[in-house]
């Protein structure tokens, strides 16, 4: 369905088709709004690639070497079953959509992550911006807060690519440590704003000399970061947003006292204060369970993901923020249906599952399907380009607009793609 990337719909065609009803009325509503919508996105990133057969696409009727050790459990939506190690998530199933038909063409972590976050197959000659950076550029900052925040840290492919360093994410650190505060968000005790002003004055003076000799986009980016740093240091909203200690103990427990759980809670606080795009990850490639998959999943990865994801959905819902917050849980690919000799699952990019919620996406549904072994997508294939097209559309960012690379080449924020059919229906 989405294989032909050379004859893409233009935005106008797309609007017309939408209004004709081919893609549903609510999508038309989203697009007709035209102006940038005031939504934010929280991306729970399962770095390393999360096994779909162990989470949202179980195959209880498949042979043991495929179905693995986990059993399905019912959810609060009749007919939808997910993994037994996601009990909290099961009680929030009415709030999110499971998409069982993601597929990619990259089986290598770095390349797959790059593909999924940029909407382009990686090219050695041009570094594409990640979705968070594009959203940063398009929507800008609010309340002195950085528009794009990475919790706890940034990883390859999270960056701004050819858009230039100023759209790189702010690194928030691990909010699960006691007394958490992002580094350097408070001036040293004996430095006041007068002194900071004096310093900045001298800095500009020195820079002016240098600027006469050399100019570069990186220098401009560093300048913009100085300004943003002053804004951030002065912003009471920012201080408040990062103050995760202000949350009630019970709520912190509900998210789970893990880096991912507290990361998701921090993400909600940030979004509430005006941050546009937050990535939350446990770390780098933790889901890469080539060996001992079932123990690692049930003891470590799933319980903390379960509380974090379910806690986030419930909390956003209670605060009435789910309509304006897009929540996505995904990794760069799935894992092989066939369990390997080391009780692990290997990389599998032909089919995997992701979960989407909020921003007008109805919950309690399963979209797409895989075959009886979970090897191939049999219905509604969605590729990285389509997912990014969808995210940009939801944000009101025209996926067909063009940016100029440093050498003047026009490049779109995503390499084609189309809105995931039925996502808003």
């Amino acid at each position: 369905m989405i294989s032909n990337r050379t004859s893409l719909f233009g935005r106008r065609d797309f609007l017309r088709i939408g209004s004709l009803g081919a893609l549903g009325i609510s999508l038309d509503g989203v697009l007709r709004a035209g102006a940038k919508r005031d939504i934010s996105c929280i991306l729970l990133w399962q770095s390393g690639g999360c096994g779909h057969l162990d989470t949202f696409d179980l195959k209880p009727d498949a042979p043991k070497e495929i179905r693995g050790e986990f059993k399905p459990i019912p959810t609060n939506v009749p007919g939808i079953q997910i993994c037994e190690h996601l009990p909290f998530t099961a009680r929030q199933a009415d709030k999110f959509t499971i998409l069982r038909s993601m597929k990619s063409r990259e089986n290598n972590h770095e390349r797959a992550i790059n593909y999924l976050l940029t909407g382009y197959l990686p090219l050695p000659t041009l570094e594409f911006p990640s979705v968070g950076s594009v959203i940063s550029k398009e929507l800008g900052s609010k309340n002195g807060l950085p528009p794009y925040v990475a919790v706890p840290n940034t990883f390859p492919s999270y960056g701004a690519g050819y858009l230039g360093g100023s759209y790189n994410p702010f690194i928030a650190g691990d909010p699960n440590v006691s007394g958490y505060q992002p580094r350097d968000l408070t001036l040293p005790a004996d430095v006041d704003w007068t002194r900071v002003g004096n310093r900045n004055f001298l800095l500009k003076q020195m820079d002016a000399k240098f600027r006469a000799i050399e100019a570069s986009t990186d220098m401009a980016a560093m300048d913009s970061f100085y300004q943003k740093a002053y804004d951030l240091l002065k912003s009471p909203a920012a201080r408040k947003a990062f103050d995760i200690g202000a949350e009630k103990e019970a709520l912190r427990e509900r998210y789970g006292r893990t880096p991912v759980g507290q990361g998701a809670l921090l993400a909600r606080r940030l979004v509430e204060s005006g941050v546009r795009f937050v990535t939350v990850a446990k770390g780098w490639l933790n889901y890469d369970t080539h060996g001992d998959n079932f123990n690692i999943m049930k003891k470590a990865l799933l319980p903390e993901f379960d509380r974090a994801f379910a806690g986030l959905l419930e909390d956003l819902h209670e605060r009435g923020m789910l309509d304006t917050t897009l929540v996505i849980a995904m990794g760069e690919f799935g894992r092989t249906p066939k369990v390997n000799d080391a009780a692990g699952r290997d990389h599998h990019s032909k089919a995997w599952s992701i979960a989407l919620a909020g921003a007008g996406i109805p919950g309690g549904r399963v979209l797409g399907a895989t075959d009886k072994s979970g090897v191939q997508v049999t219905d509604l294939p969605v590729e990285p380009e389509d997912l990014l097209f969808t995210i940009y559309t939801l944000f009101g960012v025209d996926p067909a607009r063009e940016y100029q690379t440093p050498i003047g080449r026009p490049v779109k924020p995503v390499n084609g793609g189309q809105f995931i059919p039925g996502l808003l229906a």
Binding site: D184, D207, I213, F225, K228, A229, W284
Partner: protein, 354 residues
């Protein structure tokens, strides 16, 4: 040499090259990218769409690394890794289970004469053979980038027909010279640094302002994380303390990237897992760290700081940068009250500019 190292990581530190790469295919990919400047990653799954690398090339390279085995750490040094060779071990492709014999890129299948050959030595011999088209060019290109700010082939690990060097005769001449002098790095460094090109001024003149790849002037570039931290140390006279390192150890002397330093990390010190060149993008966290972080603040308030006491800020300023410091109302007063004023100037110097 790194490639042929064996033993444990304490006695033979060069062994540390290997443990990060779990499988033969990873070793093949990394080694090729680092030493041959060629990215064959695409050929892991399919024949390269644009270049002539095939999956057989990739698997052949991987087969050079099949004998590598590790012993688990025992005893008190729990981060110790010991590399030994299982001479008979063949490379079996993880998916197809097919056994591949060692074959260098664009080279013939290597026949291993007996069971006691370290295949990596064969690879090293092939790499450093004067006829090898990749190794010398990759090395001189990396060195050139190190000194000039931009490789003749850029990125330095992406040599391919569709990414030609900006100055092919120069690259060839440097590579041949390097080979003729027995791969002597010191000689290569002397060659580059004694060239007229290296010694050009960085101040542009009319006509070469926009030049970014012809080396018509010296390109200013950002200090690395280590250089920046060492510069702050030098400007203030207060050494940085690294955990379990001798006092006075400089950032540029640190043996491994695992030694904790927020400053170095925030300014993009690369981890051992990454094999690409560092990019050093500017970030908001860097600006914050320079404005309100503890690195600069600790150094300028330390009792050992050359800024402490009654020394003259103007002197110090002049020693580190050209020109007279100015305040909003004219030249900086020559005898400022040191505690209040001095801290400003050092922050400027460490503002992340070259």
């Amino acid at each position: 040499m790194l490639l042929t190292s064996t033993g444990n990581t304490y006695d033979a530190p060069e062994v540390s090259f290997y443990p990060e790469m779990k499988k033969e295919l990873d070793r093949a990919s990394t080694t090729t990218q680092l030493f041959l400047g060629v990215s064959i990653e695409c050929a892991r799954c399919h024949n390269h769409p644009l270049e002539h690398w095939t999956r057989d090339d990739f698997n052949g390279m991987a087969a050079f690394f099949s004998q590598i085995r590790f012993k688990e750490p025992s005893g008190p040094r729990n981060n110790e890794k010991s590399l030994y060779l299982d001479f008979k071990r063949q490379f079996q492709h993880p998916d197809t289970k097919q056994v591949y014999l060692p074959k260098a890129l664009n080279g013939p299948v290597v026949t291993v004469s007996d069971d006691w050959t370290d295949r990596r030595e064969l690879l090293a011999d092939w790499m450093t053979s004067p006829k090898n088209p990749y190794f010398a060019r990759t090395l001189v290109n990396r060195m050139w980038r190190n000194f000039m700010g931009r490789g003749l082939v850029e990125p330095v690990d992406d040599f391919r027909a569709t990414n030609p060097p900006t100055n092919a005769p120069l690259l060839d001449a440097l590579a041949n010279d390097f080979i003729e002098h027995g791969y002597d790095l010191h000689h290569l460094i002397r060659r580059i640094t004694s060239s007229a090109t290296y010694q050009l001024s960085s101040i542009p003149i009319e006509g070469n302002k926009r030049d970014k790849m012809a080396y018509s002037r010296y390109y200013a570039r950002r200090l690395t994380a280590e250089q920046m931290l060492d510069s702050i140390v030098l400007s203030t006279g207060v050494p940085e303390k690294f955990r379990s390192q001798y006092p006075g150890t400089r950032a540029s002397q640190l043996a491994e990237p695992e030694i904790e330093s927020y400053f170095l990390d925030v300014f993009d010190r690369p981890s051992r897992q990454l094999i690409c060149e560092r990019k050093q993008p500017p970030t908001l966290n860097q600006a914050l760290h320079l404005i309100s972080g503890d690195t600069v603040q600790k150094k300028i308030t330390d009792a050992r700081s050359i800024l402490a006491g009654t020394r003259n800020i103007e002197e110090m300023y002049l020693a580190r940068s050209p020109g007279t410091p100015m305040t909003k109302s004219g030249p900086w007063p020559s005898a400022p009250s040191p505690k209040r004023r001095t801290r400003g100037a050092v922050t400027r110097m460490s503002s992340g500019r070259c």
